[in-house]
Structure formats: structure tokens, C-alpha cells
């Protein structure tokens, strides 16, 4: 049995999504820009999907622009705003590359984060000069699951750069946070279907009325001229079903999944020395585990419910992932290069992590199909795999590793 703990990379497509998409493709989907009956049917499907996405995202139907995924939505937000309004883009250092690359390549400014992984609001305040036209701050980070204080960011933007648009990349957040409510402060919101049980290659950008953003794809004028190209009707219909189910199940899923995640993260911290959990204050050290009735629970309030992200001293995660896979546990470290190699994480670097420690990162992300058996499987195989790699690759004693972590102090806290 395979234990899939990489839902943050992509999560299995929901059954209802498969059913609706299969039915549409079997029956035949017209081109929604056409005039005949099949085309009108396609257009109706799109309209219904738009209504559902609007409801799920707290927007008006006319504010939903369908795209080919999170990267396109992010690029459209940044480049489209710069083209329409000029000025400069600002983002955090922990954004997905789909934001960082557009911001950096257009000469924008990258604002640092605190060791907690959250944006340095003082640095943001300094960066918010009148020429800033777009500020992009993700809702939840794709590697660590750390949630940004979007309301405080919005307040700063409104007061210091009132003409700037606020964009939030909610790609990782949508399954675990009430984006319809939290995202209301943003002018632009990106989501991607395959992160919440829809198909890959489909996404949306909320573009609030008045947030004039120039199109990146020009042509037939679909999506009210904001994104040309024949819509992926079946995919969009699938995304809408996935979004609706996600919102419906979200309150219960947050409880169920965060309980699994906490057991997973607590179990790792209890059974393996020399481990740092990102975005979780480190005063809850492994020493306290030994004490009965520990009074100091790890505080994961700033993390999405589904991510357990840890760094192990004294090993390289690509070797760890290999051993986990041999034991049918599929996970990931951080971002991957297109070559498939593990790259040092820019997110952990921005949080001040030592490069070696960052190379030992492991992201175990849960999702709608996760079960207690998945958590058990990880807790069964991980301690031995970690110990094996530490012994083999470094030859270092466990006490040395623990000492190194202790000396490093509050990294990640």
C-alpha cells in the first residue's frame, strides 16, 4: 500500500470531479464561444462553474478569470498589473517562483521574512513607496504551510500605497483556509484546481471590479478579454465541483487533518533527535517530551492544517526520500528543479536556516485522502531511515547532532 504524503504538490482528483469531467468529455463539449446548441451548452457549464468558483472564493462571478493554473494566475496578476499601471511590484522572499520570478525580472522588490516565516511588516512598510503598483503576499507557503498575516498586510498597503493592488497567492491555502473571507482584502487572488482535488492545468484568478489588469494572452477575447484562448470547459467544471466540495468539507477536514498532522509532527519530534519543525516555536524542545504531562504544546496556529515540515540535522533529504519511497512513503523535500534535483530551499534560506540544515528538509503534506494509516507508516519508517543516513553519510553521533541543533538555538522559532 502506497502512503501518499505529498498533497501540497498535487492532491488526488475527487471522485465527483472525475465523474463530471468524464461525462462531459464522453458526451462532447462544444466551444463556448460558438453559437450552436453544443456551444451554448458549454457556455452554460462555464457560467455555472463561474458561479460556483465565485461563491467559493468570495467574489462576484464577473470577477473570476479562468486560467491554466496557479503559475498563469500569478504571472497575470504581476505582469498584467505592471503593464496596466506601470510602477513597481513588491513581494515576500518566500513566494512561489511564479511570483518571485515576475517580480524580480521586472525590477521589483523582495521583502524579507522573520525567522517565523512571516513577512517583516516593518520592512514592508519601508518598501511601500507611492510608485508601488502591486503587492503580492501569499496566503500560505507551499513548503512550510506557514500562513501570512494578510489583513495586516492589507492595512499597510491601503494606508501607505493606496493605489497599489494587493495580490495573494492562495494556491496552497484554499483547502485549509476560508479564502472567501480572508481573501476579501485582496484585489487579486490565485488558485489552482489540482491542489484541492480538481484536475491539473486549470486555475483561476479573482480580479475584483476596478482592479484593471492587462491581459497576458491576447486573441479571441475570451474571459471578457482578460484571458484569451478557448476555455478548458471540462477542467473548469471539474475545478468548480472540487472547490464546492472543498468548501463544504473544509471545517470538518481542518479538524480531522490537523489532528493527524499534529500526531505526525509530535511523533517525529518525540522519536527523532536533531529535528527542527519550521514555523513552530522551538521552546517546545525534545527534552520536554520526557516529562510526563507536558504543559507546553507546540503552537502550530500559524500553519495550515495539512503540512508537517521538518529539517533533520546531519542528512540530505534526497537520500531520505529515497529510503521513504522504498518503504512506500511518497513525500518531498521542497521545491524541485526541472532536472528533478533537490535544490536548496529559498524559503528556508529566507527564514535564516543554515544551508546544511535546509538540505535536510522533509515536507509531509496531508490531504483529503489521508488516513491514520499514512501517519503510522511514516512514524514506523522515518526514525530508522534518519538514523541510517546519519550513520552512513556523516558518521556523526546522535549526541553531536542534538548538540548542533541546541547550539543553533531558536532557528525556525
Amino acid at each position: 500500500m502506497v502512503h501518499y504524503l505529498d498533497h501540497a504538490a498535487t492532491t488526488p482528483v475527487r471522485r465527483a470531479v472525475v465523474e463530471v469531467m468524464t461525462r462531459l468529455m464522453c458526451d462532447g463539449v462544444g466551444n463556448p464561444s460558438g453559437a450552436h446548441r453544443l456551444a451554448r451548452d458549454a457556455n452554460r457549464i462555464l457560467d455555472e462553474a463561474r458561479d460556483q468558483m465565485a461563491s467559493a472564493l468570495g467574489a462576484a462571478p464577473g470577477e473570476i478569470v479562468f486560467t491554466a493554473g496557479g503559475t498563469e494566475s500569478d504571472n497575470l496578476a504581476v505582469f498584467g498589473t505592471l503593464e496596466a499601471r506601470g510602477g513597481r511590484a513588491v513581494c515576500t522572499a518566500v513566494e512561489h517562483h511564479a511570483i518571485l520570478e515576475p517580480v524580480e525580472s521586472s525590477g521589483g522588490q523582495v521583502v524579507p521574512v522573520l525567522p517565523t516565516g512571516q513577512i517583516d511588516l516593518d520592512a514592508l512598510a519601508e518598501a511601500l513607496t507611492p510608485d508601488v503598483s502591486i503587492v503580492s503576499v501569499m496566503l500560505a507557503n507551499n513548503e512550510t504551510g506557514i500562513v501570512q498575516p494578510l489583513a495586516q498586510v492589507a492595512e499597510l498597503v491601503r494606508s501607505q500605497a493606496p493605489n497599489a493592488l494587493l495580490h495573494t497567492d492562495a494556491v496552497q491555502a484554499f483547502s485549509w483556509l476560508d479564502v472567501a473571507s480572508i481573501g476579501r482584502v485582496a484585489d487579486l487572488v490565485s488558485v489552482s484546481a489540482h491542489k484541492f482535488g480538481g484536475p491539473q492545468g486549470v486555475g483561476a484568478l479573482v480580479m475584483r471590479a476596478g482592479a484593471n489588469v492587462a491581459p497576458r494572452l491576447r486573441g479571441g477575447g475570451q474571459e471578457r478579454g482578460r484571458r484569451s484562448g478557448t476555455q478548458n470547459v471540462a477542467g473548469i467544471a471539474g475545478m468548480a465541483v472540487a472547490a464546492t466540495e472543498t468548501v463544504r468539507d473544509r471545517p470538518a477536514e481542518i479538524l480531522r487533518i490537523s489532528a493527524l498532522r499534529d500526531r505526525l509532527a509530535d511523533g517525529i519530534r518525540e522519536s527523532i533527535p536533531g529535528v527542527v519543525e519550521s514555523g513552530v516555536p522551538s521552546e517546545w524542545s525534545t527534552d520536554e517530551v520526557a516529562r510526563p504531562g507536558r504543559g507546553n504544546q507546540p503552537d502550530r496556529r500559524n500553519k495550515t492544517a495539512n503540512v508537517c515540515h521538518v529539517c533533520f540535522e546531519g542528512l540530505e533529504s534526497e537520500a531520505l526520500l529515497f529510503l521513504l519511497e522504498r518503504n512506500d512513503v511518497l513525500a518531498s523535500a521542497a521545491a524541485s528543479c526541472s532536472s528533478g534535483a533537490q535544490e536548496p530551499s529559498h524559503v528556508l534560506a529566507a527564514m535564516g536556516y543554515d544551508r546544511q540544515l535546509a538540505f535536510g528538509s522533509l515536507r509531509l503534506s496531508l490531504g483529503h485522502t489521508s488516513t491514520a494509516a499514512d501517519v503510522d507508516a511514516v512514524l514506523n519508517v522515518l526514525p530508522e531511515a534518519v538514523e541510517r543516513l546519519r550513520t552512513a553519510e556523516l558518521g556523526a553521533g546522535m549526541s553531536d547532532i542534538s548538540a548542533a541543533v541546541a547550539v543553533r538555538g531558536s532557528v525556525g522559532g
Binding site: 537520500a319 529510503l323 532536472s339 528533478g340 534535483a341 541510517r388
Partner: protein, 342 residues
């Protein structure tokens, strides 16, 4: 049947090495090492080479992984390479990569992951000599022999290593690749140092990392014949590329004084030495007192000589060996030891 991790560069030799191991019934996993993040002729991140390796692995029905050893490569190959040129030595980066990356880091990784053996596509053989020692020996294809760059492997490493294509010629390697329909069958052999881009060459690579300094070029009479803006790029015995008449047989570099910025050229005869001083002499088994075949560059010819202390005494005067080059000792086809030119 053994569990074997085969290093697949995306070239034809390692592709066929993997195929031969699969055909022999082993449990084979492919791995491509990502070593260099900078520019190279194979493209950024060598994505196309990784893709070739991955596609070959798919054809063979084996798993394929990518390991990022970039930091180790920077530390053990790039930094010493730059430092050597900065200090007037001529390094062998491929040997350092083999020493520290493929047969140390990768071997330890393979151990940790539970593999019995590793394999590469080098054209060389591993033989057991009369004393029971494992030795690196020349590959079946003498023109493609790579025993020189594997000379430093010790018993522990050799026991864990397979070199499947060492027993066949390069022509046969390509035939096998064609027969199997491998996409790397006609891929050209790699020629130069993998991290040096053909556009900028060594000059740009070194110039980006260390200050290059000028020198005048004089003959033995002290007469200035020209100049160079990068004395670090000049090698003993070099004749071409100095801006002098390339066919003049008195224009061989015979001395390089980096401190004072003087390159002296002279007749070819002056580039020959009766002996060569060595450092770091190491024997793979017991030392050999008698006649040795000695090779001083990856594709160089082999000369004969004997070792006297830490110096090679050549049977015939030998072209000067640049400081920093590996000097490898053979008896017959077998590597018996090696050293570095002082």
C-alpha cells in the same frame, strides 16, 4: 543478482552500462548527478542530459533518480581547480570528481541506500592480480581507455564497483545502443571539462573567479616577442595561442615566471626533461622497483621509466609534465600506482 546503482550521465557509455547490467539480470537503479548549476554546453542544470538519462532508464524499465551533489562538486572540484590555476598548477578536475564525488560521495550514498554495488560507464576494467589485489586495468578499447582517471581507486572502492563497458570497444557500445534503440546511441562523446562553456572557455571561467595577470613573452635571449593578458592560462610546452608564429619551432613555452610576469619560449628540445619530480606518490599494492609504463594525461601516450624516490627517471627525455597533473604508473595494462607532478 545484485542491487546496483548505476551513474548515468546521459551519455552513451553509461546508458549501455546500465543496459548490460539489466541484461545480466541485476536489480538496477539509475542515478544522474547534478553537479554544476552554472552554464555549460549541455544547458542550464544539464536538464537535457538528465532527460536523456531518464528516458534511457524508462526504456530499460529501471528507476531513475537525480542526486544534487552541487555543493560537494563546488568544494572538491571547482574550488581546487580555480586554486590550482591561481597557484600555477594544471589540475585534472575529472580525477578530482572521480575521487571525491563518484567514488566517495556517491559510494557512501549508495551504501546508505542499501545498494550492493555502483557502476559507471568508464572504459576501464577491474582485474584481480596474482596477489589477490583488485587493480584498475586498461579498457578493451585502448583509444578510449579511461584507466588514467580511475587510477586512485582503492580496494574498498574497487570491491564495490562495476565497469560493464570496459570489456567492449566504443564501437560495440554504440552498436549495442543502436540495437536497443537507446536515444543516446549517436550522442557525441563529451570532449572537455564539463563545467567550462565553449563560448567563454577557461579564460572566462577563471577570469570570473580569480584576477588574471599579464605577462611578457620573451625568448632565451631576453628579447620580447609578445605578451599575454593572462599568464594563468599559459601551460608549459604550449606553442599555439600565444600570438606568436605558431609554426616556429623555437616558440614553445619553456618557463613561466608568474610573479614577475615573464613567459619564456624556446626550442622544443627545451621542453623535454630527463626526469620529473613527483609528490603524493601512492601505490595501489606494493611498490614496483622495475620498469614502469607511465601516463601523464588523460589521452596521452605512455612512456617508460622507473621511480627513484619521488622522481621519475625517463628512459627517453619526456615532454615536461605540467605541475599538478596526475602521473599514473602501469605494469602492462594494470595501474600499479600514481602521483602528481610537482
Amino acid at each position: 543478482m545484485a542491487e546496483i546503482l548505476v551513474a548515468m550521465s546521459g551519455g552513451v557509455d553509461s546508458s549501455v552500462a546500465a543496459a548490460m547490467l539489466v541484461a545480466d539480470g541485476h536489480d538496477v537503479t539509475g542515478v544522474t548527478l547534478k553537479l554544476w548549476g552554472g552554464e555549460s554546453d549541455s544547458g542550464c542544470c544539464s536538464v537535457s542530459d538528465v532527460e536523456d538519462a531518464r528516458r534511457v532508464a524508462q526504456q530499460l524499465g529501471i528507476d531513475h533518480h537525480v542526486f544534487n551533489f552541487g555543493d560537494d562538486f563546488d568544494k572538491h572540484v571547482i574550488a581546487p581547480y580555480v586554486e590550482a590555476y591561481d597557484e600555477g598548477r594544471t589540475p585534472n578536475p575529472c580525477i578530482e570528481c572521480n575521487r571525491h564525488i563518484k567514488f566517495d560521495k556517491l559510494l557512501r550514498r549508495a551504501d546508505a541506500l542499501g545498494f550492493d554495488l555502483i557502476a559507471t560507464g568508464h572504459h576501464a576494467r577491474i582485474v584481480t592480480d596474482a596477489d589477490g589485489f583488485l587493480r584498475v586495468s586498461r579498457g578493451a578499447d585502448s583509444a578510449k581507455d579511461q584507466s588514467y582517471v580511475l587510477h586512485m581507486l582503492d580496494q574498498r572502492q574497487l570491491r564495490r564497483l562495476m565497469l560493464p563497458v570496459g570489456d567492449i570497444t566504443k564501437e560495440r557500445v554504440r552498436e549495442l545502443a543502436h540495437e536497443l534503440g537507446l536515444r543516446t546511441a549517436t550522442k557525441p562523446d563529451s570532449q572537455d571539462v564539463c563545467f567550462i562553456h565553449s563560448d567563454g572557455g577557461r579564460r572566462k571561467f577563471l577570469g570570473d573567479r580569480i584576477p588574471l595577470s599579464p605577462a611578457v613573452i620573451v625568448n632565451r635571449a631576453g628579447q620580447q616577442l609578445g605578451s599575454t593578458d593572462a599568464v594563468q592560462l599559459v601551460t608549459i610546452g604550449q606553442r599555439k595561442g600565444l600570438g606568436l608564429a605558431g609554426n616556429d619551432d623555437r616558440n614553445y613555452v619553456v618557463d613561466i615566471d608568474r610573479r614577475n610576469g615573464v613567459v619564456t619560449v624556446g626550442p622544443e628540445s627545451e621542453t623535454f626533461d630527463p626526469h620529473t619530480e613527483l609528490v603524493d606518490v601512492a601505490w595501489s599494492g606494493t611498490s614496483v622497483d622495475g620498469l614502469l609504463h607511465i601516463q601523464c594525461s588523460a589521452h596521452g601516450s605512455r612512456a617508460t621509466g622507473r621511480l627513484e624516490g619521488s622522481r621519475v627517471v625517463w628512459d627517453e627525455p619526456h615532454r615536461r609534465v605540467a605541475s599538478g597533473q596526475s602521473v599514473v604508473f602501469y605494469v602492462g595494462d594494470e595501474v600499479v600506482g600514481g602521483a602528481t607532478a610537482a
